[in-house]
């Protein structure tokens, strides 16, 4: 086989393994950070510092009975979690993750394979990621409707509401930086910001940055906008009837999406993996991604939820006009 092909397969396996592990670790981090912010200590008994809690949770999820409700639409009910998890990973396929490298030929079987930095090196990376993450919302939508449960139906109705509200903002907020850079490729975005902190698009597009963050929180169902499974109102929303690993897949998808949004925010707005003074590029991007991930947990600990109608009001009547004005001003500036 073609060495690049083998390399891509290796890369896919690597990304799948690392990101699922990170998603699991994300649940641990979330519990710890939330605990500290609420003056608790979080998981502490399983393993050192409670680190093995992830393993315990994984074993629990895998060995739990997989219940499919009687009146549910079996096929859709079974596929829906896979939609969420799969789209989350597909979105990651367009992200440049590590530099390209070649496996030494001395390695048996896979020696000589070229592992590319991006799985699918498409030049419309941003558009692709937005599209795939958008279609990820089919997961909760189908899951809620297939499970013959009122809370599930409410959850999927809210999915639709949320999807209609934020998707416009995501697109419009990214339009302005795209106009500035003149490309849809994440690599070009990275290359446009290599001049240190001062060259970050964040400084030219602060409004777009804030809008993108807000929309990103809505996209990943994070707290101010986690209407789909708001325990206090609709039990567990679209995930009410799910148990075991199917339920777990929704969460792997959610955490993978959080990672994707963090990667997008760091690549598009704050300089990506360009070296930062004395900090080498790969550490810089890990720091940035961690910061955005932490920001999501931090916000979850601090701010209350909004209501669905408030979300629609906010997105359509406040954020969209701001986004449009921002795009127009950017357009005028670019033209001049």
């Amino acid at each position: 086989m073609d060495p690049l092909m083998i390399g891509i397969i290796i890369k896919i396996v690597l990304v799948l393994a690392i990101v699922s592990a990170l998603a699991g670790f994300g649940t641990y981090l979330e519990r710890k950070v939330l605990a500290y912010m609420q003056r608790r200590i979080g998981p502490a008994h399983v393993g050192p510092l409670g680190l093995l809690q992830i393993v315990a949770d994984g074993i629990k999820l895998l060995t739990k009975e997989d219940i499919i409700p009687q009146n549910a639409n079996r096929i859709i009910f079974m596929i829906a979690p896979a939609v969420t998890a799969a789209t989350a990973f597909i979105a990651l396929s367009a992200v440049p993750l590590f530099p390209t490298f070649t496996i030494p030929t001395s390695f048996p079987l896979i020696g000589g394979a070229i592992v590319p930095s991006t799985i699918a090196d498409i030049n419309i990376g941003i558009l692709f990621m937005l599209g795939v993450m958008g279609s990820g919302l089919y997961g909760p939508l189908l899951a809620g409707m297939a499970q013959a449960n009122k809370w599930g139906i409410l959850g999927s109705a809210r999915t639709a509401v949320q999807f209609l509200s934020y998707e416009v903002i995501t697109g419009l907020s990214l339009l302005a930086p795209i106009m500035l850079v003149g490309s849809l490729s994440l690599l070009d975005f990275n290359n446009a910001q290599t001049g240190g902190v001062g060259s970050w698009i964040l400084w030219q597009q602060p409004v777009a940055f804030i809008l993108f963050l807000i929309a990103g929180f809505a996209e990943t169902n994070r707290t101010p906008f986690d209407l789909l499974e708001h325990e206090a109102e609709i039990v567990s929303g679209y995930a009410t009837e799910y148990s075991g690993m199917r339920w777990g897949m929704f969460f792997i998808g959610e955490y993978a999406n959080m990672i994707t949004i963090s990667i997008m925010a760091s690549l598009i707005f704050v300089g990506g993996y360009a070296p930062l003074g004395f900090i080498p590029g790969w550490i810089a991007i890990i720091l940035k991604i961690s910061f955005f991930f932490f920001l999501m947990l931090w916000v979850r600990a601090s701010w209350p939820h909004v209501r669905p109608d408030q979300l629609m009001w906010f997105c359509w009547k406040v954020l969209m006009p701001i986004a449009v004005i921002n795009v127009m001003i950017t357009g005028i500036v670019v033209m001049i």
Binding site: Y36, M37, R39, R40, A44, A301, S302, W303
Partner: protein, 198 residues
Amino acid sequence: MNEKQKYIMLDLGGTPLTPWCRFKRVVKRTFRIELFIGLWVTIREMFKTLFMGKSHTTKYPFEKMPIPPRYRAIHDMLRLLESGHYRCIGCGLCEKICISNCIAMETRYDENQRKEVSEYTINFGRCIFCGYCAEVCPELAIVHGARYETASEQRASFSLFEDMLTPIDRLKEQEEFAGYGAPTPWADKNIKKTPLAY
């Protein structure tokens, strides 16, 4: 002033009446940094918990909170400190007063013509932990102890006289009952003014 007494009166303003007022309120709330104050509070608590040990967690089965003397847990039967004999004189008052009829006792005269308790059980399936028995006991013999973990393999584990009696080898550790309704030793710390006092 006690830290717990820092009540703050919030000035929430009135409800906006006209759309223009509502708009002004939205703008004001957006650009005032209240949201960031929320973020600041949580991160401050995080640093306090992480580095200053301000966590409120009690690792329960390993650490326990002290319980106040008023707490009505599983009963203890106390002994006389001098002789080590059990204090109960078999007067039967606790059996009489018990509103859920869960104390069962039998007494007889021993060889010295003293009353001796031959059977004494409390049915903890019925006991409502009202504390009347401890209140009525003239000898401070039956008191509420500190065993609040009432899960056991058998109900009988708690209910016999011997189980509730202070073990003879731990007589020195026997604590005197502070009295029915005694305040917590650290009660002063918990006293605070109610908002009505302002």
